[in-house]
Structures are given as C-alpha cells and as structure tokens.
C-alpha cells in the first residue's frame, strides 16, 4: 500500500512535469526551429528544395520521381527521359507509383521473388536502351531504400545517354555534358558515393530540347 501510494504520488508529479516538458520540447522547441528556418537561405530548403520551371513547381531536387513518357508504352525505346531507380511499391515496370509513402522492398538478397524482379527489370532496361543485359548496372535493377532516390549511378546515366539524345533530338555530346553538370562526386572526396540527379537532369533536358 505504501509503495502504491508512493507510485501514485510520483505519477502525479510526473504528469505535471510531462505537461511542462510538452510545452518546452513539443511546442516551443519545434516552433523555434521552424521560425529560424524561415530565414532567407533556409526557407527554400525547409520547404523541400523545390525546383521551379516555367513558374511552376516542377519537383524537389531531393526527390526522385520516375517520369512517364506515354510513347514508351507502345515502344520502350521511344522514351525521352532519364529514369530513376525502381521503386519497391511500383506495381509494374520500374515506377512511378504513389510517392506519398516512402519505403523499400525489404526483400533479402537471397529472395527468389527479388531475383525474378531483378531479371525482369534488367531485361526491360536492356530492351529500352538496346544493350546487352550484362551492361545494366546494379542500382538500375534494385529498389532504393526510400523509393524516392533522386540519384542514379554515373554508369546508369551513361547507359541512357544515347536514347535520351536520340529521342530529344539532341547531340549525344550535349547530353553527356548535361549529365556531367548534374553529377556530384563524393563530398570532400570521401563522403557518400557519386550520383547523377535525375530530377534536375530531366528538367535540363526538357529546356535544352525546347519542348
């Protein structure tokens, strides 16, 4: 009984302290950080690093959404866009799908279902690019952790250059230059891995092609 009373008394004090902490760390703290994030230079990042093209929000430079070319449904080689990595929740092809919920496939490397999926993607990409399936790099056939990875490896970008140049009526060298422009290496030479930003690259391709 004495212990129970003690516990109840402590719980009462606990509730009062919890309410104070809720105000301090659950209201004041996040709103203060939000307030600071309104400062010039931070505001754009806080609201999702939106890329504006033609006066409209065309995407976030941090978020990869696989673009759809309606012509590709008839003939995959007539697709004019650079493609992102596959999304785990995509029901067909590589994506796109609902981008409101993020996540990966959670399938292990020994999973038979994943093997089927990898081979299907590999064949699909090889047909689209007109290359041997052996040339398709690993990141092109594996789903990212977030399903929103904006980057592809420089190898996967290089694989897509010929088709994108052809379908947009651009010289291959120009497309290759644009890929280089939208590639970032390792920060300080050691952090992370090199990648090509598909979101900003496609916008640049559209600008260059003028349509």
């Amino acid at each position: 009984m004495k212990y129970l009373n003690n516990l109840l008394r402590q719980a009462g004090a606990g509730l009062r302290i919890l309410l104070v902490m809720t105000v301090l760390t659950g209201v004041v703290y996040p709103l203060a950080v939000w307030g600071v994030s309104r400062l010039p230079g931070l505001g754009g990042k806080a609201e999702g690093s939106v890329v504006v093209a033609g006066g409209r929000a065309a995407g976030s430079e941090l978020i990869g959404i696989d673009p759809v070319d309606p012509r590709a449904a008839i003939d995959p080689t007539r697709d004019r866009w650079f493609h992102t990595r596959p999304t785990a929740i995509a029901t067909e092809g590589l994506g796109p799908d609902d981008v409101l919920v993020s996540g990966g496939s959670n399938r292990g490397g020994a999973d038979k279902g994943l093997l089927t999926e990898v081979e299907r993607r590999k064949a699909h990409i090889a047909t689209r690019e007109g290359v041997d399936p052996k040339q398709v790099p690993a990141d092109a056939v594996t789903a990212s952790a977030s399903g929103l990875d904006p980057h592809i490896s420089p190898e996967y970008a290089a694989l897509q250059v010929r088709r994108v140049a052809r379908e947009n009526g651009l010289p291959e060298q120009r497309v290759r230059d644009l890929v280089t422009e939208h590639t970032r290496g390792r920060a300080l030479g050691v952090l992370g891995a090199p990648g090509v930003n598909v979101t900003t690259l496609n916008l640049a391709i559209r600008d260059e092609a003028g349509r």
Binding site: Q10, T25, V33, L62, N106, G109, K112, S144, L191
Partner: protein
C-alpha cells in the same frame, strides 16, 4: 579514389569528430549532474510541477518516479493518437487504431521507437511534435538519469540517497539535449532537411503529371531522434528519406549525432568516479566491438552471396545511391550498436551476414556503445558480471570501483543482464509457435526466422530498427512487441536502480594487491569476452537457424 578508401576516410572523419567532442561534452555532462545550483528555467519547471528539487530520493522512490513518469507518458501519448482528429495540423488523418496507438506510445516512451505505422500516412504534425518529439527528449533523459544514478551508487558511500529523478530528468533535457538538438536542427535545415508545417507540395513533373510530395516538421525531430538514440522517423523510410537525410554531409552529421552522447558518457563516468582510465576501458570495449562489427558487415555487403544480389551485380537493394555501401554499413553498425534504430538503408535487404551483424549488435545487449544512458548502465552491469566471474576464478570477494560485489549486487546485475534475452527468446518462440506467423513475413526460410528474431530483438533491446518486411500490425504483434519493449526497458532499469541503491549503502573498500585492476587493458579483454560470451551462450542456437544459415 576507390569506394573502399573513400569509405575509410569517412570512418576516419566520423571518429575524429567524436574524439573532438569527447572531453568537452563528457566533462560538461559530469558537471551538469553534479551541479549544486538550479537554472531559473529549471526552478520554474520545478515550481510548476510542484516538486522539491533539493530533496534526494532512495532507490525505491527514484524507481517509482521513473515508472510513474513513464506510465503517464504512455497514457498521454496514447490519448493524443486516439484523439488525433481533434488536434490541429492533422490534415484529415484519422484516429490511430487502438493496437497501433498502444504499440507506438510504448515504443516512444521506452526509447525504442519501433514503428508499426508509416509516419507520413498515419500521424499529423501535432502528434509528431507535441507527442513524439517530447518523448524523443524525455525518454533519452530518463536513460541518462538512470545511468547517472548507477554511477552515483559507485561514487557515494554509506547513504541510501541516489539523487533526485526530477532534477536529473530536467537537467538532462534542458542543459544537455535541448541546446545540442536546437543547434543540430538548424544545421540540418541548412544541409537540406525539411522543416515545414505544410501537408505537402504539389509538383508538375517534366512529364506533365501532377503529384504530391509529403512534407513534415522534420529537422526538429530528426536532430533529437539521432541525439537521443531514439530512431523513429517522421517518414516511413526513416533516414533513408531524402527529406530527412538529403546528402552525404547530413548523413555523416546524423551518424555523428547518434553516437555522440553514448560515447561521451564514458568520459562522464570516468570523471564522476574520479578515475578517467575506468571510462577509457569502457570506451575501448565499445570501440573494439563496433570496429569488428563494421568490418564484418562491410565485407559482407561488398561480397554478397544471395542469388538476387548476384544477378543485380551488387547489394544495392534497399540502399541509396547518395550514400553508397560504405556509408550504409557505417550507419547500420552505429544505429544497432546504439539503441537508435534509425536506418539509412533497409536492413532486411542486407546480406545474411550483414543483416546478422545488425541483429547480433542488438543481442549483445546494445553496448557498442549503446543508447544514451542505457549503453552506460548496460556495460556497467556487464562489468560487474565480469569482475564477479574473475573473482570466482581466484576465490575472492570481487570489488569494482571500491565497492564489494556481494550477493545482492550480483543478483541485481544478473537480473538486469538476463531480462533482455528472456524477453527476446520467449517472444520469438511464442510468435513462431503461431501457425499464422509465416503469413506476415516477406521472406521465407532462414531469412524469415531472422525477421521474427529481429523484431523481438529490436523490441527487447529498445532499438527500434526492423527487418521491415515483416507485417507487424496484427493485434498479436502489436501487443507482444509492446510488452517486450516495456519489459526490455523497465526490468533492467529496476534492477540497475536496486544495484545502485545497494552499492551506495556500502562503505568504500581500499584497493589491495588482490583487487582486480579494472583500469587496465587486461580488463578490456575480460569485459569484451564477457559481453561476447553472454550473448553467444544465449543466442547461438537462434542465430544459427537464422542469419548464420543464410550466410553459409
């Protein structure tokens, strides 16, 4: 530069950053918990809460305060989720269903941050900020308070008082976590992490299709999620989501944050017991385990053996291009070695050995370097066991840090140590007995078994990372994993506080020629051996059927 060399450079930068903060932060924390006076803000908090900050508590009262505080925290967080439609900034998200609300409330209060829901789908901004962010702070502060109470047990003599829980809780929050988190949150925004009160952004892509991308008040929660070794992401993909962790810089910074406090606490410990070497010994054990785990996982992920990974050409399933493999394994080992459980790649998609490292890291009891506070008291419990084992071998009453380890102390330490394996193995066994369990697994065979073991290992250790392929939204999993989190958190805490109370009552015994020198490299080896031995004896059969079978 080859990915391997670059990866080493990355590890080097991380270690240097931690080394630079080790002394200042460790000493700061020792001062905070030993300070006489109160800040004006703290006095205001004590007055509002009507607690007397200058009265010290016995271990029983300290424990009652921990339990009482955690109980009301669970109730409040449960109610907030159930009443979500009435709260602002919910954007039409409904009430969280009871099983999920219970599981989530327990999860965040126990510093586990296991998530059976998809953040952007289920929870509105108010529950995220006023509910989850709050628990991100205070559950971390609770862990630190318990660790400090245990250290006081070693430091003090002939007293039944361990300090005041409300003071330790408040100081941990106000003087340690809040200032660092505030700076870190703003740095994260500068690096690209979002901090928005909007529902999302509508974009019209190059293909002319309109889509909505979810936004959230992320940076404020991201900072404390890592700093407090919590790990619950605002988005479903956690720190793999580009809005939580936009680039290699933010990735390094977040990885640094999640290791910062557990590592520096070993300095705090050395400072408080007046013998810094004792702290370096604990740090060496943690560093040793962390390095071995990192090497094993790194090798495994760069040498995949699964059919799907071989067909793809590399183990990139569930990993992000901007991080690559080295930064993914570095994070994996750090997040499971602490009790964080945040992920920047999907552990379920790791190779058998790589994923096994994450699992083993948790099953070692999360002491490499462990959660904030939980890591320190976890490894101190194992140190007590190691000293006791050594004492058995030479037939002397063991002593550690000037205190004799008698029957009461060793019993308390054994309970603290065995609570987690009991919870994990019973939970896993129970789940596997159910005929319906295989339906909830994404993977089959040994990897499926690993998914279940991982779930209970994560819950029982308050880690919160997952082999997320398993569907855990059934009432059975919501309830049993919730109970596993509660027992895995509070049984060890009670035992640790009992241990502290018993140690504090003793007088100090001077070290003699027969005392085991616990500040020496020899003891690093003994303690590491104890950590590995305990885990191996408990979990080897289960591991053999799961990740070991898959790795072979």
């Amino acid at each position: 530069m080859s990915p391997f060399v670059a990866g080493l450079g990355q590890v080097g930068l991380l270690v240097m950053a931690l080394a630079a903060c080790y002394r200042p932060l460790g000493d700061h924390m020792a001062r905070v918990y030993g300070a006489e006076g109160h800040w004006r803000l703290e006095r205001g908090i004590y007055r509002l809460a009507r607690v007397n900050p200058d009265s010290e508590q016995r271990w029983t009262t300290y424990a009652a305060a921990v339990l009482g505080f955690s109980f009301v925290s669970i109730v409040l967080l449960y109610l907030m989720q159930r009443l979500q439609p009435l709260l602002p900034l919910g954007f039409g998200r409904g009430a969280v269903e009871p099983g999920m609300a219970f599981n989530t409330a327990v999860s965040f209060v126990t510093n586990t941050n296991w998530q059976s829901y998809a953040g952007e789908e289920v929870l509105g901004h108010t529950v995220q900020m006023a509910g989850l962010t709050v628990q991100n702070f205070v559950s971390a502060a609770v862990g630190m308070a318990v660790a400090v109470a245990l250290v006081r047990g070693f430091v003090r003599a002939r007293t039944d008082r361990l300090g005041n829980f409300w003071v330790d809780l408040t100081r941990g929050t106000v003087r340690i976590l809040l200032p660092i988190a505030a700076i870190a949150a703003i740095l994260l925004v500068a690096l690209g992490t979002v901090m928005s009160l909007a529902r999302g952004i509508q974009v019209v892509g190059v293909d002319g299709i309109t889509r909505t991308i979810a936004l959230a008040p992320t940076a404020s929660q991201e900072a404390i999620k890592e700093l407090g070794t919590n790990g619950g992401g605002i988005f479903n993909a956690n720190s793999a989501h580009p809005f939580e962790n936009p680039n290699a810089w933010s990735n390094l910074f977040e990885n640094f944050l999640l290791l910062l406090v557990p590592v520096a606490l070993t300095r705090t410990f050395g400072q408080m017991v007046g013998d810094r070497k004792q702290g370096y010994v604990l740090l060496s054990v943690m560093g040793l385990l962390w390095t071995v785990m990192l090497a094993a996982s790194w090798w495994a992920e760069t040498h995949p053996n699964g059919v799907a990974s071989l067909a793809a050409g590399a183990a990139m399933e569930g990993k992000e291009v901007r991080f690559g493999i080295p930064a993914s394994v570095l994070w994996e080992v750090s997040t499971t070695g602490t009790s964080t459980g945040a992920v920047n790649s999907m552990h379920d998609s790791f190779t058998g050995l790589g994923g096994g490292v994450a699992l083993l890291n948790m099953l070692l009891g999360e002491v490499a370097p462990g959660g904030v506070g939980a890591g320190l008291y976890g490894i101190l419990v194992l140190a007590v066991i190691a000293v006791f084992l050594a004492g058995l071998m030479v037939g002397r009453t063991p002593e550690y840090l000037g205190k004799k380890l008698g029957r009461r102390e060793v019993t308390a330490a054994a309970i603290a140590m065995l609570a987690m394996p009991t919870v994990v193995l019973l939970g896993t066994g129970l789940a596997l007995l159910l005929p319906s369990t295989p339906d909830f697994m994404t993977n089959t065979g040994s990897h499926g078994l690993a998914e279940v073991l991982y779930a209970y290992g994560s819950a029982g250790n308050n880690n919160g990372s997952a082999f997320a392929g398993m569907t855990v939204t059934s009432d059975f999993f919501q309830a049993t994993l919730g109970v596993a989190m509660l027992l895995g958190r509070f049984l060890p805490i009670l035992a640790v506080l009992a241990l502290a109370g018993s140690l504090a009552q003793q007088r100090r015994v001077p070290a003699t020629a027969g005392t085991l020198p616990t500040g020496s490299p020899l003891f690093v080896g003994m303690l590491t051996g104890t950590v590995v031995l305990v885990a191996a004896l408990t979990f080897l059969p289960a591991l053999a059927l799961g990740p070991i079978a898959e790795a072979l």
